[in-house]
Symmetry: C2
Subunit: 334 residues, 2 copies
DNA sequence: TCCGGTATCGATAACGGTTGCGATACCGAT
DNA sequence: ATCGGTATCGCAACCGTTATCGATACCGGA
């Protein structure tokens, strides 16, 4: 670990000024091919790593896009991220992830932290924020996109699906197939607003045809196959008349399916199952589970494109409000 | 979007100097409680977000820890991350994730990018890097921890398990249970070095008792239940005599289990299955799959602690080489 | 009243690059 | 030989904050 190398040192070694070295290393014009080659050579062999803190302060530009999501364990946000990365791939921008842990206070502090680095854009999941967060997002002098959800008041741009609609449509599909003794298993994390909206949409959809939920189960903590299996077992034990269960997440419905396999129940003969998200883990199971696609990848792509376009136009473009259509896939379990 | 607010403005509004405002907002000493309250009040109501780029340049310190992992979809790295986050939780440090996509060239550019922000520490997955990457890691003037793997030459600190050993021990367990017609299904991603080491360790373990693999299948792309199921079906179709399959990942072995369920094969009666990682998705399945725990959470925790300790001691502490013991869990499928 | 000590605050100089613009060198054309 | 134009380079100021050190005010004790 030698003495730390500055641009100044590289320049000295190359026998040029700092400015020329800076230009050469950034690929800026006004440097002859020969000097540029020499400077690059020196920088490479000596392992010079430019200090982007100084560079960004000076140039007043940071090629980072802040992405704030509730969690990375839930299988759902990594796919949003991959959509973002795919679009940013051939641009100078790089995504940086922050995790809010389904906690609005934590989200506020994470967003504050990210904005303090003056990113070129910010993408955040959800439309619900603390007042302070909303204020920060409004004042931020970079494009801001709220993603995943469209049921609410976005601060600026917005790309997502309606979870109310997703819940309602699943209710309609379930009713259309004749199920009437319906249970719901969902998270009780008070701040998973989208799960809550699906629940509300679902019960609305049932109510529209005068059906009410026969059973209801809430769990805390992250969704898991294990939890889905246990809660399904419990619900069916106390309520054997149930003919259908809707889960707030595919991970949970997979657990439900596992219970049915283990208990020798026929799906959908004895009990129908439906989840949400269209996660990749649904592929390859013994039965194709019913679900609603949450358009995760596309949401990420579109959000990233908004950031890119906003850079081109200098932030002078109009507000984007992209409401994608969540496609139901009935599978074999309804 | 009002004019951008600087520390200078906050200070002016509060009727104090920039320095006092700076101290107040950072919680530094030498500010009376009254002035501090006033400054904080003003900063809050006006939505001041400090510019950490300037702050970090001036203070020569960045409270970020760079974490470079191959992927976030694979279910395995988010858990390492959560270990890191847990430890960093009550420290000023925050993790920042970079994704290398199982590509050493991309890893080099991601690490260069992260180091250019002069983080307080760097955690990278794996021991294999390009020459340039190794040089950067050596020269970095922050603690560097390579995680996940211990089979190789770490640049500085290292925390992980031996994948060679994991493969070998699984071979021993499988042989001890009398299986002799053994197949292997694993990734052919040329740069998933750890999967390759498990494979090598596995065949070594078999060879030690003069057993050779009966069948072998490689796939490209990310692991998935779907792929695991398909490849298992193929392998069993062409090689019905197989009595055991070892997979390079739990995700794949779950797919294998799904095939067996669908095909009416008894596990382990007709065919035994074993995977690797001890992922959460194994919980709740009809059968408890055999696997090896990769100690992901603990690896993350330990890596983060090394960074923290190194900050305290000013980097003067000795090298850490933590070789954790991967625990085999036999489950019900061997 | 004077003094030393502490609490509180401010002026100034970095931090390591980049922007802006002026300076120099070099070229062919006149 | 002179000139205008272009390619190449360097000087100085600045980006927004913090470290350092010195200044001031205030307090109790002698």
């Amino acid at each position: 670990m030698t003495k730390k190398l500055l641009l100044k040192d590289v320049a000295k070694l190359a026998g040029v000024s700092e400015m020329t070295a800076s230009r050469a290393l950034r690929g800026a014009p006004d440097v002859s091919a020969k000097t540029k080659a020499k400077i690059e050579e020196i920088a490479r062999t000596h392992g010079y790593v430019p200090n982007r803190i100084a560079g960004s302060l000076s140039s007043q530009s940071v090629n980072l896009v802040a992405v704030v999501v509730p969690s990375l364990n839930s299988f759902v946000f990594p796919e949003v991220l991959s959509g973002i990365s795919a679009v940013l791939k051939d641009s100078p921008l790089k995504p940086v992830v922050g995790i809010s842990g389904y906690d609005l206070a934590e989200e506020e502090s994470v967003i504050r932290e990210m904005l303090s680095w003056r990113p070129s854009g910010l993408i955040a999941a959800g439309l619900e924020h603390t007042g302070a967060t909303r204020r920060m997002l409004q004042q931020a002098d970079c494009p801001v996109v709220e993603v995943m959800d469209v049921d609410g008041d976005p601060v600026r741009h917005c790309v997502g699906i309606s979870h109310l609609q997703a819940g309602r449509e699943m209710a309609e599909q379930i009713l259309a197939r004749g199920y009437r003794n319906i249970g719901f298993i969902g998270t009780k994390m008070p701040q998973d607003f989208r799960a809550r909206k699906r629940f509300d949409g679902f019960t609305d959809g049932l109510a529209a045809q005068s059906v009410t939920l026969s059973d209801l189960e809430h769990y805390s903590g992250e969704s898991s196959i294990q939890t889905g299996r246990q809660l399904t077992a419990q619900m069916l034990a106390r309520n054997p008349g149930l003919d259908c269960i809707y889960y707030s997440s595919d991970v949970m419905s997979v657990g439900g399916l596992m219970h049915c396999l283990a208990a020798g129940l026929s799906v959908p003969g004895d009990i129908a199952l439906a989840g949400f998200n269209n996660l990749q883990i649904l592929q390859g199971l013994p039965l194709q589970l019913a679900t609603t696609d949450a358009c995760r990848h596309e949401i990420g792509e579109r959000a990233a494109r908004i950031i890119l376009k906003s850079r081109e136009t200098g932030g002078a473009e109009g507000l984007v409000f992209d409401r994608l259509t969540p496609a139901i896939s009935l599978g074999e379990t309804l």
